[in-house]
Amino acid sequence: MKKLALTLGLVAAIAIPALAEAKPVTLNTTLKSYGGNGAYLAIYLTDAQGKFHSTLRVAGRKAKYHSHLRDWSRGEKRNVDGVTGASVGSGQSLKVSVDVADALIDAGYQIRIDSAVEDGRENAAEVIVPLAAANAGKPVPGKGYVKSFSFDM
């Protein structure tokens, strides 16, 4: 018993510093039933002026269509290693968990979503939510394909 407590203590000691730097944030995105092919999404962080900071998640694997995610790409080839998944179908939801550095929370940063659908719209920053603890769990609607977006942490 003593031994187990010691082990747990050790694990905690190793794990806590990591927790102190980054926090898992769950992103919930639900799309409208727009009735087209799967939507490409970019969920990313910007500063308060809208300047790109980092990519949280990209839905849609074909890099050649990423340029249609207008604000997010803005003529740049974004690094999407490890953050891409399948595109999201009409009326479907995407729920992913990402690690966000503590330093970015409540520091004026924003979560933004760009979306694009083949033969359809290309919505730049259709969702803009400040990354503040107070906003967690509050769904917001998007202007284009996003029906609602919320984040939990």
């Binding site: 207008r70 003529g75 359809g120």
Partner: protein, 738 residues
């Protein structure tokens, strides 16, 4: 080889290709309908700035204007928080109505490019397109080879209905299909990033955006300078952000346009890849090119039928090849047996030989003579077994043998064995021709040319013993002729002629036996029906006590509901006596052998039918089937109009309703009479005029008559600078002679 190239992808990719084609045909309607709805403007008619101005005047917050490949203009806008899109008249910028892409077309598009199965489906669609390329090219090459060169590619084709439809449709559609398939391959490779699709990356964001108040869009110089025909899309700056700018994509490149000054801030021209891709896209979809879309759509529509007929042809060819046990591959066999056979009887002998050689330890490959390969890796000898067709011609499975012989680089020791009937003048003629051709090309003789008379098992066994001695091993050939698969036919009617002129002749009409009065529904449904046949085809009849079938030309088609033959009784003739003794209600065993070599060509050209005695049978069949009322002239010779005027009533009926244009008869046993060859000689002018008009001559009857007719006709067409041989080789002089 070419045939395999055609058949293999055809069979393997049939489903893929058919789905691609049907969906493609549906999609091809889109550009046509879209074009019918709006006329796109011509160059110089309206600038991007003017269009954008008109669109912004009607919409509160325009997000993006897109011009599709087919020329439609779509405006995406926000109405408050509601995202919406309108279809816009490209000439005026006025709203036509809300833009609602069709769910059905989207579904069909996805089916077309990915079978609704993501990347795996996209790859399959690419493979389907590749299969279509291979099919188009190999099909065209086969057709050219068959018709005698590319210049002859539009000539009429003969063959079974399936073959004719397959060829006609293929010929109609091949260019469209090839275009669709090649561009489809390109697009597939572009999808997977193997070829460029010309996606141009935007120029990097510039910092020197003016940021001042926005000018009206109509005054922006960079947009005024671009014609609508060049527009691809125009993205508007975000409403609340004065540092944002227009993104203009044209046919030539992508640029950023300052919303305040109207200046082009940065510009990135498209690479060559983009133009190539746009062109390929247009050629594949027909968008912006609606006549092409129609052609491609019609071509694609032929594909299901082409596939179905192709499968039928393949299946029939496969079934026609007798199965041979332990048939070794051509390149691993030490002994090659090649078979020339019109029916299938020679194959039976080949099978016996194959089994005996295999038993004595040889690796044997048996194939039709037409499959002669340019080289055999391990072969030490070749054995050729061939029948002769008609008057010394090659049988069906050997028709291309002599032409292929020149391609063979390494001659093998060869033995030729002919099959025939000694009572015919050109007994084993084709086998002789083959042996001569081989000798002339320096093929060593394994054993001397031998001929088997009337499928004699004894002569075949003797030849086997000789061959065994040559090979240094005993070879026992016990050939048991396999009875062909027969059907039962019931005699329903007989009409007798000619007894008075010592030429007893009977017209026999058979039908499939009817189910008995007590048969249940199942038995009635399964009641035998007549197999498929046309006038001029042959019926093989097995007289009791014989496994050797006798063949009679058919005077009817199965659609007539009866199988009709015309039989003259030969003194001592086993089969003709048997048939002459038949009474209605009696059943016989028979089978059909197709005879496509003796059929009127398609079309409206006149027919000259010449026959004597029972030779009128198939000719009467052709006439009765002449529902198209093409000109038909019948010359027929009998003995006495009072006794053996076969089909007299029928022919007069056909004359009356113009299925027969002219009936010329001559009888030998009346005063001033003569033979049919005399009759045509006296009608030379008329015949010359008909032949001038492209008439086809079909001759049916005894050998002596046919020789006489050939001589008479030779003399008639000589003055026209024509030779009978020319008519024969172009299929305009056909003989069915016995």
């Amino acid at each position: 080889m070419l045939r395999q190239f055609h058949a293999l992808p055809g069979l393997l990719a049939a489903v893929l290709v058919v789905v691609l084609a049907v969906t493609g045909a549906i999609l091809s309607l889109d550009p046509v309908l879209e074009r019918a709805a709006t006329m796109p403007p011509t160059a110089g008619q309206i600038s991007v700035a003017a269009l954008a101005e008109a669109v912004t005047a009607n919409h509160r917050e325009v997000d993006r204007i897109v011009k599709t490949a087919s020329g439609s203009v779509i405006a995406y806008y926000f109405d408050g928080d509601r995202a919406a899109a309108d279809l816009v008249d490209p000439k005026t910028g006025q709203t036509i109505g809300p833009y609602t892409p069709s769910d059905f077309l989207r579904f069909v598009t996805n089916l077309h490019r990915s079978f609704l199965m993501g990347d795996a489906g996209r790859a399959a669609a690419g493979i389907g397109a590749l299969a279509m390329v291979v099919l188009s090219i190999s099909g065209a090459m086969m057709l050219a080879a068959r018709l005698g060169g590319w210049s002859a590619i539009l000539r009429p084709v003969s063959g079974t209905p399936a073959q004719r439809w397959h060829t006609e449709l293929g010929r109609f559609a091949v260019l469209g299909l090839m275009l669709s398939a090649l561009t489809g391959c390109y697009m597939s490779l572009a999808t997977f990033g193997i070829l460029p699709d010309g996606a141009t990356v935007q120029p990097s964001v510039l910092i020197d955006v003016n940021g001042g108040a926005r000018a009206p869009v109509a005054q922006l110089a960079a947009l005024k300078a671009v014609d609508l025909t060049d527009l691809r899309e125009l993205t508007f700056p975000r409403a609340g952000d004065l540092t944002d700018f227009y993104v203009l994509t044209t046919a030539q490149g992508i640029g950023h346009v300052d919303a305040a000054t109207g200046l082009m801030l940065g510009y990135q021209p498209h690479g060559l890849g983009r133009q190539v891709y746009e062109t390929i896209y247009m050629l594949h979809t027909g968008q912006g090119l609606w006549p092409l879309a129609m052609i491609l759509g019609l071509s694609a529509l032929t594909v299901p039928t082409l596939s179905a007929f192709g499968a039928v042809i393949w299946w029939k060819r496969r079934r026609a090849l007798p199965r041979i046990a332990n048939n070794v591959g051509a390149q691993s066999a030490d002994t090659i047996i090649l078979v020339g056979s019109e029916g299938n009887s020679t194959w039976g002998f080949a099978g016996t030989l194959h089994a005996a050689l295999t038993k004595s330890g040889h690796q044997v490959h048996t194939a039709p003579m037409n499959r002669l390969a340019p080289a055999y890796a391990k072969a030490a000898r070749m054995l050729i077994l061939t029948a002769t067709f008609g008057d010394g011609a090659a049988p069906a499975s050997a028709a291309r043998f002599l032409a292929r012989l020149d391609a063979v680089k390494t001659p093998l020791p060869v033995a030729v064995l002919g099959f025939g009937d000694r009572s015919f003048p050109h007994f084993c003629r084709f086998a002789e021709d083959v042996a001569t051709a081989l000798h002339a090309r320096g093929w060593p003789v394994l054993s001397k040319l031998a001929c088997i008379d009337r499928q004699s098992a004894q002569e075949f066994a003797r030849w086997g013993t000789d061959l065994g001695n040559t090979l240094g091993a005993e070879l026992t050939l016990t050939h048991v002729a396999s009875r062909p698969k027969t059907i039962a036919l019931e005699l329903i009617e007989r009409v007798d002629y000619g007894a008075e002129v010592q030429a007893p002749t009977v017209i026999l009409r058979f039908a499939a036996p009817k189910a008995g009065p007590n048969a249940n529904l199942w038995q009635r449904l399964r009641a035998p029906r007549l197999p498929e046949f046309l006038p001029g085809d042959l019926v093989g009849i097995l007289p009791p006590g014989s496994d050797l079938p006798r063949f009679y030309s058919l005077a009817s088609g199965n659609r007539d509901g009866v199988l009709e033959i015309c039989v003259r009784k030969h003194p001592g003739g086993l089969c003709s006596s048997f048939l002459h003794d038949l009474e209605p209600g009696v059943r016989i065993e028979a089978f059909i052998r197709k005879n496509p070599a003796f059929r009127p060509a398609c079309g409206k050209a006149p027919l000259i039918l010449i026959g004597a005695g029972t030779g009128i049978g198939p000719l009467a069949g052709f006439i009765r089937h002449n529902t198209g009322r093409r000109p038909v002239h019948l010359y027929w010779g009998g003995r006495d109009p009072a006794s053996d005027f076969l089909y007299e009533g029928d022919m007069k009926k056909c004359l009356a309703d113009r299925r027969l244009t002219n009936l010329d008869t001559i009888f030998s046993r009346v005063s001033g009479g003569g033979y049919v060859q005399d009759r045509i000689a006296s009608d030379a002018n008329e015949l010359r005029a008909l032949i001038q008009r492209g008439a086809q001559v079909l001759v049916c009857g005894g050998r002596d008559m046919a020789t006489g007719v050939a001589r008479s006709l030779e003399a008639i067409i000589g003055p026209m600078g024509l030779e009978l041989q020319t008519l024969k080789s172009t299929g305009r002089y056909l003989e069915d002679v016995y």
